[in-house]
């Protein structure tokens, strides 16, 4: 009997799992977790760049979900509801930590000649196209200042619109757009640095081989 019950619960469609979870069925809670935990954990991980914290936030998001699941009436998609809830949990945590707001001035040095924003956009000889691998991009995102990272993850990775981000993050739409552009430009710088480091290492290795042959 117990086995049959477990097997049925493991294969439950989402709508049925939600209905059963609203009645307190433990198997249904687990089923909902199985269905959505990867997406929520990935979201948390990208927003905080720390596995322990991402685990804690994932747990917190699902805990809040299960506390509130009885109030879910199906007006919106369940996954959207959960996703929004998880984003709020992450942002609440970041606000509690009082992360300072990021500005472009924090991460870009002024141009020595003009005193304005640096115009070294990487140069026509260095292009990222075709050379952005997953690991380098992930590492660069992790290095972004928190404010940039949140907007970049929400917009470019999670598909939120600027008006939604403004609503979630309690800022203006213009601010969201500005932070996103700065985030992308900072990512470009970081990726160029990686590219330059790699080229330098390759040159040194080649020079070492040449001198060894002589």
């Amino acid at each position: 009997m117990a086995r049959t019950r477990r097997e049925e619960t493991g294969e439950l469609p989402e709508a049925e799992a939600i209905r059963l979870a609203q009645q307190g069925d433990p198997g249904a809670f687990e089923r909902i977790y199985q269905l959505h935990s990867r997406r929520i954990y990935s979201l948390c991980l990208r927003m905080v760049s720390n596995t322990a914290e991402a685990e804690d936030l994932t747990q917190e998001a699902f805990l809040q979900l299960f506390r509130k699941i009885a109030t879910f009436r199906g007006e919106s998609a369940f996954s959207t509801w959960l996703h929004r809830l998880a984003v709020n949990v992450v942002l609440m945590r970041l606000r509690k930590k009082k992360v300072p707001e990021s500005s472009l001035e924090e991460v870009t040095e002024p141009d020595e000649e003009s005193g304005g924003p640096r115009r070294d956009f990487g140069g026509p000889d260095l292009r990222l196209s075709g050379s952005i691998d997953r690991v380098n991009l992930q590492r660069a995102i992790e290095e972004l200042p928190p404010g940039y990272k949140q907007v970049f993850v929400l917009h470019d990775m999670q598909g939120y619109e600027h008006n939604e981000i403004a609503d979630i993050m309690d800022c203006s739409i213009g601010n969201s757009k500005s932070q996103l552009h700065k985030a992308r430009m900072r990512l470009r710088e970081l990726l160029h640095e990686t590219q330059r480091d790699r080229a330098r290492t390759a040159r040194q290795a080649a020079a070492g081989e040449t001198s060894g042959e002589e």
């Binding site: 086995r3 307190g24 954990y41 304005g116 115009r119 470019d156 552009h181």
Partner: protein
Amino acid sequence: MATIGCNQFMELAAPWLEGEHLPEAAAHLRGCPRCRSVVTDLEAIRAAAVHLAAEEVEPPARVWLNLRDRLESEGLIRQPGWAERLSAMFLTVPRPAIAGAFLGLFLVAGLLLGYQSDRTANQAAWLARTQTSASSLGSQLDAAEKGAVSSIRERNPLVTASLNQNLAIVDNMIAMCEKSVREAPQDELTRDFLYQAYQQKANLLATMTERGVNAQ
């Protein structure tokens, strides 16, 4: 049309990426390889980010275990019953031989579950039947163990010797727990101890079977 410089174009780069292609920005871009490079890079970053977002990471198992503990502590879900946990143990046993050996246990667990459901209706009868069931559970396990051990003995004597030694320890614990259950069948904690002892025996038999098979 007024021409714009690189700094002015950079202010229009974000809308450009969103598809807002103003004529002055387009004109600048045509004549400026640097800004073209920036736009190309930013488009590549955005595309790579979309691909990265599609890759999802599995959270460690401890996240669910911790979450379940908190859900239980808050009363949002209840702890599975004694018989349910016993049946879960049966379902996770890896080898068919051991699984067969514990079939008897599973059936008795089902009986116990039935007894628990009408416990409140007839407390005295429930206690009597629980005592009988505990005894039956032990004898079922003994019979199952004989079958499992004999199948291993034929294959690997070293494994059999180690198995007998460890089984003696676990059996001793089971005997003590069974005695306690007979004396206090209404005590949930006592039954939990007996369950733990059976679980240890199940794990031991499963492990020894694995090693016996692998050692051949």
